[in-house]
């Protein structure tokens, strides 16, 4: 950590998240290899990105829980013109719908961009970027998602 308390950029120069008090449990979880998300004890629904109250029922009974880290590609784009030169193109940005029903932005790795399809099963693949920050990227699922036997083995 630098003197300012800010995490320096990754060796590649990619700008890394600066966790806040609100988001720290999420980023600490990633560092420890667990994908953490807020869940409402009152209505049982999930909230992401982190918020101070439940965005579904407005209760303040949010708690941090562990996600299974598996889901499907909800939408995706392959970026050829990056916002800054530190990103190596092409890379895949995706929205993943987790098996628990919540969505997050991420990068898909370990797959050719042209092979990415909506609904493709994926699983979290933690990428350590610094002592403080590990990014929850995703890759094609090795195991099929729960409750969908027909895609078994279809993970190429």
């Amino acid at each position: 950590m630098s003197e300012s308390g800010k995490d320096p950029a990754a060796p590649s120069g990619i700008p890394l998240p600066q966790p806040t008090e609100l988001s720290k449990p999420h980023w600490d979880g990633c560092r420890d290899g667990v994908l953490r998300v807020q869940r409402c004890a009152a209505c049982s629904r999930y909230v992401f990105i982190p918020q101070p109250i439940c965005t579904h029922c407005q209760s303040d009974q949010l708690e941090w829980v562990d996600s299974c880290g598996r889901g499907r590609v909800y939408s995706h784009t392959t970026v050829h013109r990056p916002p800054r030169p530190e990103f190596d193109v092409p890379y895949v940005v995706a929205i993943v719908e987790l098996d628990e029903g919540w969505h997050m932005l991420t990068n898909l790795i370990d797959c050719a961009p042209e092979s990415v399809k909506v609904d493709m099963p994926v699983e979290v693949a933690f990428q350590r970027m610094s002592d403080r920050i590990t990014l929850p990227m995703f890759r094609p699922a090795v195991r099929p998602p729960a409750g969908d036997p027909k895609v078994e083995g279809d993970t190429k």
């Binding site: 990619i14 700008p15 890394l16 998240p17 600066q18 966790p19 806040t20 988001s23 980023w27 992401f48 990105i49 909800y74 939408s75 995706h76 784009t77 392959t78 970026v79 050829h80 013109r81 990056p82 916002p83 800054r84 030169p85 990103f87 890379y91 940005v93 995706a94 929205i95 969505h103 997050m104 932005l105 991420t106 990068n107 909506v118 970027m129 990014l135």
Partner: protein
Amino acid sequence: MMSRSPFHDVAIVGAYNTVQARTADRPEMELLLDAMRGAVASAGLEFADVDGLNVTSSVQRYHSRQAVALLGGRPCWTGVDIGIPAVIEAAFAISAGLADVVLIATAQAREYTDRVKTAPWTRPSNEFVECWGLYTAAEFALIARRHMHLYGTRPESLAEVASAIRSNGARNPAALHYGREVSPEDVLNSRMVADPFHLLDCAVTCEGGAGLVMTSVERARDLDVQPVYVHGGGIERQGMAYMAPPVWDRYGHSGRTAARKAFQQAGLTPADVDVAEFYDPFSFEIIRQLEAFEFCAEGEGGEFVMDGRIRIDGELPIVTNGGLLSFSHAGMAQLLQKPIAAVQQLRGELPPVLTVPGAKLALASNGGAGALFCDVVLLGTEQP
């Protein structure tokens, strides 16, 4: 039947754009003063008539209270919003008697200097977006890709939108890309930026300013200009832009509530619209807005845009000045340029080749699904 909207007592009487250029070679303040003077002059008014101000600039962060001082410190109402919400805010102020003549003006110069990166306004910096290499093109691409998956929307439809808009800009001498005709094939053959968006599916980057003057319908009658009347408006926000993932199921219909409210105030429907000055940061956003505003059914936007329907001589001409894809995208000025385009179209101030004969009602919009906001205003040649 709802009661009469107070917006119906308000008219736009002045609309003006400064030069728009990739680099204007003019200081931001000079562009801003040009926008202010040009807008007031186009209304047939003088600064002495203005008693309401909403003045902003992107880089120097010039604001309305500073602008009041330019008018000698005379007591003025000041507005705080930008783009179409600034127009709606001013309409409230005028209808409530807080101001008689409101000048809205904005300008941007020298904001985009580091050309190795994409433009600063495309790059959000928060912890849940920046690390993924996400920026506006990718945000809107994620919305477009989901629509293509759900409804089979084809790249050819996106290319037709971009070509139709860019063809308008090619015929507008005031547009950045004046003279640059672009066919659908040109769009599909341009380099990929963030699929499905090719380079020519994306907005230009530009410098420039814009200004607009509003007053009461009563005052407008005394002016030597053709007033354009406010028929209705709506403002819609669903959270901060570029933080939460742009999930189609939640944000795909962004602007529907705003549009419904605007049409309800006007007592009109999308079928009454002669010209649509849609916000066009990326080609797909037109297809989405056609569905969100209920010009066509869910999933049918991709087919709606084909066969020349949205071209200048088509059934529903869109983005008649060339828009963000060809005319200009200048910091925040492009937001205000949507109602300005509607006013110029309805007044017959665009080049004849871009003037839609007999157009009486125009819709203008700001924002889009990727940005989690969408605003609408309906403007017409006759008082509602």
